[in-house]
């Protein structure tokens, strides 16, 4: 699945003229940046919540 998606993105990229390819890469970069940011914040939130609950929750 990942490989197929990668191939699709690469085939589009390789057909583009240079400025369009730069813009296409920039767009992919911002998507990756947003996903990385969301993943990072989520992971940080989970860790914070777990460390908070460790002290407060009684089973």
């Amino acid at each position: 699945m990942k490989r197929m998606l990668g191939l699709l993105i690469c085939f589009i990229g390789v057909l583009l003229p240079w400025r369009a390819r730069v813009i296409f890469s920039e767009l992919l970069g911002w998507i990756a940046q947003a996903m990385t940011g969301a993943y990072f914040l989520l992971a940080k939130f989970i860790i914070k919540s777990l460390s908070g609950s460790k002290a407060g929750v009684r089973l």
């Binding site: 490989r3 993105i9 690469c10 400025r19 296409f24 890469s25």
Partner: protein
């Protein structure tokens, strides 16, 4: 006068390369390149000032040069035959961009009679097409052909081991990062810290780091090709070989153009690209 030209991004590695090489030279030309898709090239000036404070104001000449036409020519010259021969390797933009920078640097050296070149290439990113050892070797041969000596003084330096995900989330102790570090393994950041140029041992990935060098997202497309498409199926070594084969062909073609430039100067084809 002994002069050195440096491909200077303003980042930790190229700043360390400059700091290590400067004592041996009378004048150092710091060459920062910009093009469409590379933002904030002027950020490199932040560390130029730190270098001037350390080594003296008159020692450095900093230039920001545009390589739009040259980058386009390197990436798209004889495109259809190249596509047939190298396929999706044409998407390895970082290596092609670095090649355009080196061609421009070589032309700068020829124009200004500079005999030495260095950069901040480092071997710690295996799939980074512009840092492959064999590619560096090909670049050395290209410079040698025109009487210029090129080297990468920080190529063997270590990568900071406290810049991963766990460290950014304040959980570095879980990975044991830096706990069993050998004395001989030094990072470029540590070297700059030791010299008193950087305030911290590791600036990579920090907000401060982003404010001292250019930003470029085109590595994303190259990384998708490398990490999603090619390397999982064929392996890293074959990927590196594919990149180097493409760059070798480009170097051969542009070597001819540089030769023509050194003979015809303003009447050459390369002159129109720089």
């Amino acid at each position: 006068m002994k002069e050195l030209a440096v491909l200077y991004s303003g980042g930790t590695d190229s700043t360390c390369a400059v700091a290590l090489m400067t004592p041996d030279f009378d004048r150092v030309h710091l060459l920062t390149y910009s093009r469409f898709g590379v933002f904030f090239a002027d950020h490199a000036g932040v560390n130029v000032q730190k270098l001037k404070d350390k080594f003296g104001e008159g020692k450095f000449i900093h230039r920001v040069m545009n390589i739009d036409k040259l980058f386009k020519a390197v990436s798209y010259s004889r495109y259809i035959p190249a596509l047939a021969a190298h396929g999706l390797f044409l998407l390895t933009t970082c290596g092609l961009c670095k090649l355009a920078m080196h061609i421009r640097t070589l032309v700068y050296c020829l124009d200004n009679n500079i005999g030495y070149v260095c950069d901040g290439a480092n071997n710690n990113m295996d799939y980074a097409s512009d840092q492959i050892r064999e590619f560096i070797g090909e670049l050395k041969a290209l410079y040698r052909r025109f009487g210029v000596e090129y080297n990468s003084p920080v190529y063997e330096f270590a990568h900071p081991d406290d810049s991963g995900w766990f460290d950014k989330m304040g959980m570095g102790s879980l990975t044991g990062a830096g706990e069993e570090k050998k004395d001989s393994v030094v990072t470029t950041g540590e070297e700059l810290f030791r010299m008193g140029i950087f305030p911290k041992k590791n600036m990579k990935g920090t907000a401060q780091d982003r404010r001292m060098q250019a930003r470029c997202f085109q590595l994303v497309l190259a990384n998708i090709f490398a990490n999603w498409v090619y390397i999982p199926r064929y392996g890293l070594e074959k990927y590196k070989k594919g990149c180097v084969d493409l760059y070798k062909e480009k170097i051969g073609y542009f070597s001819g153009l540089i030769e023509e430039y050194s003979r015809k100067n303003k009447k050459s084809m390369l002159y129109k690209l720089i």
